[in-house]
């Protein structure tokens, strides 16, 4: 009885650490997307949310779900996210490139704007 309660406390703690860390990286991604000067650099910041944010939050939820079908489904969601999010990022970046947004240009101008 004691052991069960102890295990639950440990699992809850691990899960909360993962969720909080994930939330931190999602926040950093958001702050970065606001602070960065142009489209491509904003995408770099947002990718922190896509990777560390998503992985940590989903792992935290997996610890809560325990050994169940829900955990397998969450792992599948994580796998699909890790495949589809860079694919859609590529679609966005490539479309921006084709639309004529210069990757390096605009940086200096934007920096003036920020200063």
């Amino acid at each position: 009885m004691m052991d069960q309660a102890l295990i639950k406390i440990v699992l809850d703690t691990i899960s909360w650490i993962l969720l909080t860390a994930g939330a931190f990286f999602v926040l950093v991604g958001g702050i970065g997307a606001l602070r960065m000067p142009n489209l491509y650099t904003r995408m770099h910041a947002a990718s922190v949310t896509d990777t560390m944010g998503a992985v940590l939050v989903l792992c935290g939820v997996m610890v809560q779900a325990g050994l169940s079908l829900a955990t397998i489904k969450l792992a599948a969601i994580l796998l699909f996210l890790l495949i589809t999010s860079p694919t859609s990022s590529y679609a966005l970046a490539h479309a921006a490139l084709l639309a004529g947004i210069k990757p390096a240009a605009g940086h200096a101008a934007d920096e003036e704007h920020h200063a």
């Binding site: 960065m36 000067p37 650099t41 990718s47 560390m52 590529y90 970046a93 490539h94």
Partner: protein
């Protein structure tokens, strides 16, 4: 991305084509049944419809003309995933430091290079792995020619070192 429709297929290309369609159909049906767990006629019909839409879309994208089931689940692949995971953690922390630094020390750099990996699936793996790693972003993938945007010069150097390219091209060799 660039899955060239004119990649040479094997001799029994019509048969290989059909085999790929059937394999994908079976995988999709199994995935639907496992994920939903409902066996009511309406749900099953919706599932069949979804699978059909995916197959038709894939056919229209000429996906079945290329060797789409090309991922080999070898120890090398899992080692690559571990390595990629470490890289993602390392560069996430790096980008986090940059974002939270009041000076915002970025130096956007564009790198172009020719990848060593030849198989279309490998090139997609490399392009996606570069994008998945925060701080580097694949802008364009034209045959073997990659254009990558890096947030810092250090990130650009990592790409030019080509370690990821080397690891991805080794995935297919035994």
């Amino acid at each position: 991305m660039n899955s060239a429709p004119d990649v040479p297929t094997d001799n029994h290309s019509a048969r290989a084509h059909l085999a790929r369609v059937l394999l994908l159909a079976v995988l999709l049906a199994a995935a639907w049944l496992l994920w939903s767990g409902f066996f009511k006629p309406l749900i099953l019909m919706l599932g069949a419809l979804s699978c059909a839409i995916v197959l038709i879309t894939a056919h229209r994208m000429h996906l079945f003309d290329t060797d789409i089931f090309a991922l080999r689940f070898t120890a090398r692949l899992f080692r690559f995933w571990l390595w990629l995971g470490r890289e993602i953690v390392r560069s996430s922390l790096e980008v986090t430091r940059i974002v939270l630094n009041p000076k915002l020390p970025i130096k956007p750099t564009v790198v172009e290079f020719d990848a060593h990996c030849e198989h279309p699936v490998d090139r997609v793996i490399l392009g996606n792995s570069i994008t998945l790693t925060p701080g580097t972003l694949t802008l364009s993938l034209d045959d073997q020619h990659f254009t990558v945007h890096a947030l810092t010069e250090e990130g650009a150097r990592d790409i030019q070192d080509g370690e990821m390219d080397r690891l991805v091209s080794e995935l297919r060799s035994r």
